[in-house]
């Protein structure tokens, strides 16, 4: 290629750069990483997960059997919160307390009046870009901890989007392999993480049509 023909390419570069700028802006190829909306009920994940030791799958019970993790039905919340009301008496050295959030929940689902129950309009945080399929069950059953993608939810007083959810981020695991120790670390399981330190990274298929169809 002569230098002359190189210069001739310059306008083409500019044209492509402009086109790419517009495309990228139009396609919304950006991330909502860090997005942390205020939910209709300030559900405290740390209390449920860290203090009470509840498994993620207790509420998000479809995550290991469906592409869609599922949201807990209002009835799932009320399974406990019919008994666990907003007022907590002082006990075991803890002071008495009134939970505004449980009040809100019971306003959505009045005890003993199931015909008056209303849906809780949760605000969506994690949303993959268009045209891509993410089967939750394949990841959960492969041993990928929820926190590997969703971040340390057990610490999040208000849930935020931890990862970028962009394709390059997906491919870091699919191509280089998923490190179980890192996943367990994120889940707060330092003991397990140490034990798994030597584990072989788990790779996954990265052909386009595995996810895009």
């Amino acid at each position: 290629m002569t230098s002359r023909s190189k210069w001739a390419l310059a306008p083409a570069f500019f044209a492509i750069a402009i086109a790419a700028t517009m495309l990228s802006a139009y396609s919304g190829a950006s991330s909502s990483q860090g997005n942390s909306p205020v939910q209709p009920i300030q559900f405290p994940h740390p209390v449920h997960v860290k203090e009470l030791g509840m498994n993620c799958l207790y509420c998000h019970n479809a995550a290991n059997k469906s592409p869609d993790p599922g949201l807990p039905a209002v009835g799932t919340c009320m399974g406990c919160h019919t008994l666990i009301g907003p007022s907590r008496p002082a006990a075991n050295g803890r002071p008495a307390r009134t939970s505004e959030e449980i009040k809100k929940l019971q306003a959505f689902a009045p005890i003993g009046q199931p015909d008056k129950w209303k849906e809780i309009p949760w605000i969506r945080i994690h949303k993959l870009p268009e045209y891509v399929r993410f089967p939750h069950m394949r990841h959960v059953n492969a041993g990928v901890t929820c926190q590997s993608c969703h971040g340390p939810v057990q610490e999040m007083a208000q849930v935020y989007q931890n990862a970028s959810l962009n394709m390059g981020w997906c491919l870091t695991c699919h191509v280089n392999g998923y490190q179980l120790s890192q996943g367990l670390e994120a889940a707060g399981d330092t003991v397990g993480a140490k034990a798994a330190a030597a584990a072989e990274p788990k790779k996954a298929r990265y052909d386009c049509a595995v996810c895009h169809y």
């Binding site: 570069f13 492509i16 750069a17 086109a19 790419a20 700028t21 495309l23 990228s24 802006a25 396609s27 919304g28 190829a29 950006s30 991330s31 909502s32 909306p37 479809a62 059997k65 469906s66 592409p67 869609d68 599922g70 949201l71 807990p72 039905a73 209002v74 009835g75 799932t76 689902a109 199931p114 129950w117 209303k118 849906e119 809780i120 309009p121 949760w122 605000i123 969506r124 949303k127 870009p129 268009e130 045209y131 891509v132 399929r133 089967p135 069950m137 394949r138 059953n141 790779k203 996954a204 298929r205 990265y206 052909d207 386009c208 049509a209 595995v210 895009h212 169809y213």
Partner: protein, 1024 residues
């Protein structure tokens, strides 16, 4: 076969790097435009459902009388797909286009949202309480005298018929009528008299010779799925299969699937049937008389007569639509009896019990007379549309206007319901309980597969609610709803056990009356041409016209969509100076219709034909103001069983001034030597003459090696195909992912394929393919195509006229021979979809790598990479790539293809493509992934033939086989080795993953075509 583009060329990858560099500079500019989305949880989780995972319910298809068993796939509470029930004795897993379109009846955007009442001359919404009170009041006013009321229902072989009669009887009214304008009542009556059943099983595979006298058993006549299945099984016996002769004035789809067409003059069928009866020893007529009456040469008829005499077992079926049909049907019963076919090819013991309960226009005449006489006080109509589908000459609508109070139970606004005073919209069959007699001893169960979407009520429940408000009747209806009636009928435990199978043993008693016997009409009319009308293969007598899938599904014969047409022979067209698309006016004593001419080889030169189904004035947005209603030119003439004669005699035909382009998906009717649809004769097959011309160059098993082991894929993969490359990624067969161990492939057996097009609708349903032919969808950004240049292109099918159809799978239909206008031509049906070429011409031309070859053999289209250059479409020799010219999936655009609630049908596993994106057949990649996911979850390998594509699943002919051709345990791996196999356009070196198996023709013994070719002779007709 080069891996390098040469020193001066720009490789695709280099171009991509350039694009990447330019893009990198812009990443900071991106901004977020996401809106706040809500996630709405269940209040309480329903049992047995997992969000995002389908639940499957068995039920019965109620789109026609055949009563096929179906399985409805329900995702998150909404039915998203209907498939045949593999265990059902009627359809064995297959489902026709009509059946699949049941979903578009359920989600039809024009359905009544709730009850309506006439106030101030207009139908206005009302409440169910008020509607039922009104019904109760009117029932009370008319009660007591049987003549005061009439109830017209659709065909229903279930126990609802008895329930309905019981309800009517409670008010002192007579039994209801089951009106079916499309039913062949003459044949049902003759069969009942001759065989004891209305519709015996036709066992084509046991026959050596099939003669159809106008019986269009592949066009919707009778029970299309089981008949088609039996027919395809017969054809699949190849040399041992039957030879098929079709006798009729027009070559229907059934006729096109016959080996010989006898172009018989309408009205001449009876003489031919008599000659055939003589041939098998019955008291019939002479060949000379038959030739005289039918306009067919004596030699030709003598040939058929001799064939019938010399071939056992045979099968003779009648389906003539002239007024004398009853006589001919009776003669055919006699022929089968005399030839010893009963119990061999005609099996009354395995009858289709969905038939034999309906009446035709002969019975409607009685209602019209009562209405005109003023004795009819209350008319109730459910599931039928007599104001549209009776001949206008009978004056049903005018007579109906004289009835003081009319009630409709229709789910959809139609010509009849719009004349009614009270509309009590019925639940759809997929929302309600019921049953239907499927086969002798088997009852098909019908259960709601989802909650109703609108404020509708099952008619049975409405009747119950009305009766409970009546002091004398209330005690007869202690149940809460019709569901309890069904549960009580079968027993709660038995029903619970039977529902997963969808059927229960037993027979339904209290069925509607047998066909009536009335004086038959006579052929008549003046004019130069015989006029043949026929039910549209998928729109039927008009009931399918409000479903966009069926409107967009090309008529299997003419390939025309969204339009009516007049079929005319090329010689006649030439004589009249008519070109395709010139309007023809067909006039009879009853009226006139004008529609564009379709020049068709398969019609007698002295005959014109018009299909029914279009010309609705009120049947929702997809049906209205399209085409013409062929019933406008028919008189009140029926056969001896009271069924409407669709061929009534002569008509005048004149060229009109207008011209409109035919909305057709036909490119060319001829193959031009391209060898797309290939065939061989039985003689060639038996002699093995064509094995010398095996169309697969080299060794088939070698070609279907997956990944980089295939030299073909090597070539297609550019850098990855470089044999010196160290990292071949997933294309390496030893890659840990194992992806390159598979090669997804498909075989299509043209000996089985009848061209019915059920696969096309299955593809639309599975893959969220938008229909694009509705009037408003033709409106583009810029007005054009009008004389003044200021209007919008609102022709029906405007997008299709511009070649913008989206049919991922289409059926090519080609004629071979008959260039001189003779009736001796052969038809090839070729399902055409993305061929998933090993060496795809579309792949290297894509500048953005949006289409590429996956390691498992799929030609992949990545929608979010596609920028819509359409280079790939230019490169594709099969023309199977489709471009989204408009935002068919975008709600805010006027071309939106899924107006609410049609969008509820969309398959959640498949992307709804946006504007500017190229798309094509994916080999149902979502099903591949779903099966892989399931296997992985169950910690096992994918099993051979574990799943299949939507087209193969639906195919009533079982012509399509899909699977992994690289694994010898899959059926498809054996099928690709078939000696009849060939690739389309293999000379282009595309190495497709679709292998077609040649059609096998059975020419008449002694004809030139039947001769055994010399081993070195040229390949069969149609090969290149």
């Amino acid at each position: 076969m080069t891996q390098n583009t040469g020193p001066s060329g720009v490789k695709r990858r280099q171009f991509l790097k350039v694009l990447g560099a330019a893009g990198a500079a812009t990443t900071a500019v991106g901004c977020t435009n996401e809106q706040v989305e809500k996630l709405i949880p269940y209040l309480n989780s329903p049992d047995q459902t997992v969000p995002g995972v389908s639940t499957y319910y068995t039920t019965s298809c109620r789109e026609c009388a055949a009563a096929c068993g179906i399985i409805a796939e329900v995702r998150d509470g909404r039915a998203v797909k209907l498939e045949g029930n593999p265990d059902h004795p009627v359809n064995k897993g297959a489902l026709c286009a009509k059946g699949q379109s049941g979903l578009q009846g359920l989600y039809n955007p024009d359905r009544y949202r709730g009850p309506m009442i006439r106030e101030g001359g207009k139908l206005v919404p009302t409440t169910w309480d008020k509607a039922i009170d009104t019904l109760v009041q009117k029932l009370g006013e008319s009660r007591g005298a049987a003549a005061n009321a009439a109830f017209i229902n659709g065909p229903d072989s279930g126990s609802f018929a008895g329930y309905l009669d019981g309800w009517l009887g409670g008010y002192g009214f007579g039994s209801h009528l089951q009106y079916d304008p499309g039913a062949d009542l003459a044949v049902e009556a003759a069969n009942l008299a001759g065989y004891g059943v209305a519709m015996p099983k036709l066992d084509f595979a046991s026959a050596k010779l099939v003669i159809s006298i106008g019986a269009d058993y592949l066009d919707g006549w009778g029970a299309s799925v089981p008949q088609q299945m039996a027919f395809a099984d017969a054809r699949a016996k190849l040399a041992d299969g039957p030879r098929v002769i079709y006798i009729g004035a027009r070559r229907s789809l059934t006729g096109l699937n016959a080996d010989t067409w006898i172009a018989c003059q309408p009205g001449g069928e009876e003489a031919i049937a008599r000659a055939l009866l003589s041939a098998v020893g019955g008291n019939g007529g002479t060949v000379a008389a038959a030739a005289q009456a039918s306009g067919v040469t004596e030699a030709t008829l003598q040939g058929i007569v001799d064939e019938l005499r010399g071939t056992k077992p045979s099968l003779v079926v009648s389906g003539v639509s002239t007024p004398g049909a009853g006589v001919i049907a009776g003669l055919c019963v006699d022929i089968n009896k005399a030839a010893g076919n009963v119990g061999v090819t005609v099996k009354p013991g395995e009858a289709l019990t969905g038939f034999g309960t309906s009446v035709g226009v002969g019975a409607m005449q009685g209602i019209i007379e009562r209405a005109n006489a003023g004795t009819l006080k209350l008319l109730m109509v459910r599931g039928v549309n007599p104001a549209y589908d009776t001949p206008k000459a009978m004056g049903f609508a005018a007579a109906m206007a004289k009835v003081p109070f009319k009630v409709s139970f229709s789910s959809y606004p139609d010509e009849t319901s719009e004349l009614c005073d009270l509309v009590l919209p019925d639940d759809h069959a997929l929302e309600s309980w019921g049953d239907v007699q499927a086969t002798p001893g088997t009852i098909g169960l019908q259960q709601p597969v989802m909650d109703r979407i609108f404020d509708t009520r099952a008619s049975a429940d409405v009747m119950m609610m009305a009766a409970r408000k009546d002091a004398t009747l209330a005690a007869r209806y202690p149940q809460k709803s019709y569901r309890d009636v069904v549960v009580a009928r079968y027993g709660s435990a038995a029903l619970t056990a039977a529902l997963p199978k969808g059927m229960v043993s037993g027979n339904i008693t209290g069925r509607a009356a047998a066909p009536m016997s009335v004086p038959a009409g006579a052929m008549g009319g003046d004019g130069e041409f015989f006029l043949v009308t026929y039910p549209h293969a998928t729109l039927g007598m008009g009931e399918g016209a409000n479903k966009p899938w069926l409107q967009e599904l090309p008529d299997p014969v003419s390939k025309i969509v969204w339009q009516s047409w007049v079929e005319i022979h090329p010689a006649t067209a030439k004589r009249l100076g008519v070109a395709a698309g010139d309007h023809l006016t067909v006039t009879t004593a009853s009226g006139a219709v004008t529609a564009p001419a379709y020049i068709y080889l398969g019609i007698r030169p002295d005959t014109v034909a018009v299909a029914h189904g279009q010309g609705h004035t009120r049947y929702g947005r997809y049906a209205e103001n399209l085409g013409v209603n062929a019933l406008d030119v028919l008189g009140a003439t029926w056969n001896a069983a009271g069924g409407l004669a669709l061929t009534q005699g002569k008509a005048r035909v004149a060229k009109a001034a207008e011209h409109s382009q035919l909305v057709t998906l036909e490119g060319s009717a001829r193959q031009h030597g391209r060898g797309i649809g290939q065939a061989l004769t039985v003689a060639e097959l038996v002699s093995g003459a064509t094995t010398e011309h095996h169309e697969l160059p080299g060794d088939a098993s070698h070609e279907f090696l997956p990944g980089l082991r295939s030299p073909v894929a090597n070539d297609a993969q550019g850098d990855l195909g470089d044999p010196t490359s160290k990292d071949k990624g997933m294309y390496d067969p030893n890659h840990w992912s194992g992806m390159a161990k598979r090669r997804w492939a498909m075989t299509i057996d043209l000996a089985r394929c009848t061209g019915c097009s059920a696969c096309v609708t299955a593809c639309y349903a599975e893959n969220n393919i938008p229909t694009v032919g509705a009037r408003w969808q033709g409106r583009s950004l810029r007005p054009f195509h009008t004389a003044d240049g200021a209007g919008w292109d609102t022709r029906p099918g405007a997008n299709i006229l511009k070649g913008r159809e989206m049919a991922w799978l289409r059926i090519e239909r080609y004629f071979e021979g008959g260039e001189d206008g003779s009736s001796e031509f052969d038809t090839r049906f070729v399902p055409m979809m993305c061929q998933h070429c090993g060496n795809a011409p579309c792949e290297p031309v894509c500048p953005v790598y949006a289409t590429y070859h996956a390691p498992d053999g799929l030609n992949v289209q990545v929608y979010n990479r596609c920028v819509g250059t359409r280079y790939c479409s230019n490169g594709c020799p099969y023309k199977v790539r489709y471009f989204n010219w408009h935002g068919y999936g975008e709600k805010e655009r006027r071309q939106y293809a899924f107006p609410e609630p049609l969008h509820l049908q969309l398959n959640p596993d498949v992307t709804v493509r946006g504007k500017g994106v190229m798309e094509k057949c994916t080999f149902c990649v979502q099903r591949v992934r779903e099966a892989e996911n399931l296997a992985k979850l169950e910690n096992r390998e994918l099993q051979p033939d574990e799943f299949t594509t939507a087209c193969a699943q639906a195919c009533p002919s079982r012509a399509i086989v899909f699977g992994d051709a690289a694994d010898p345990n899959w059926s498809v791996a054996k099928m690709v080795e078939n000696s009849r196999g060939y690739h389309v356009f293999e000379e282009l070196n595309t190495f497709t993953a679709v292998v077609y198996l040649k059609k096998v023709n059975h020419p008449a013994a002694g004809s030139a075509a039947a001769a055994v070719p010399a081993a070195a002779a040229a390949p069969a007709q149609g090969a290149h």
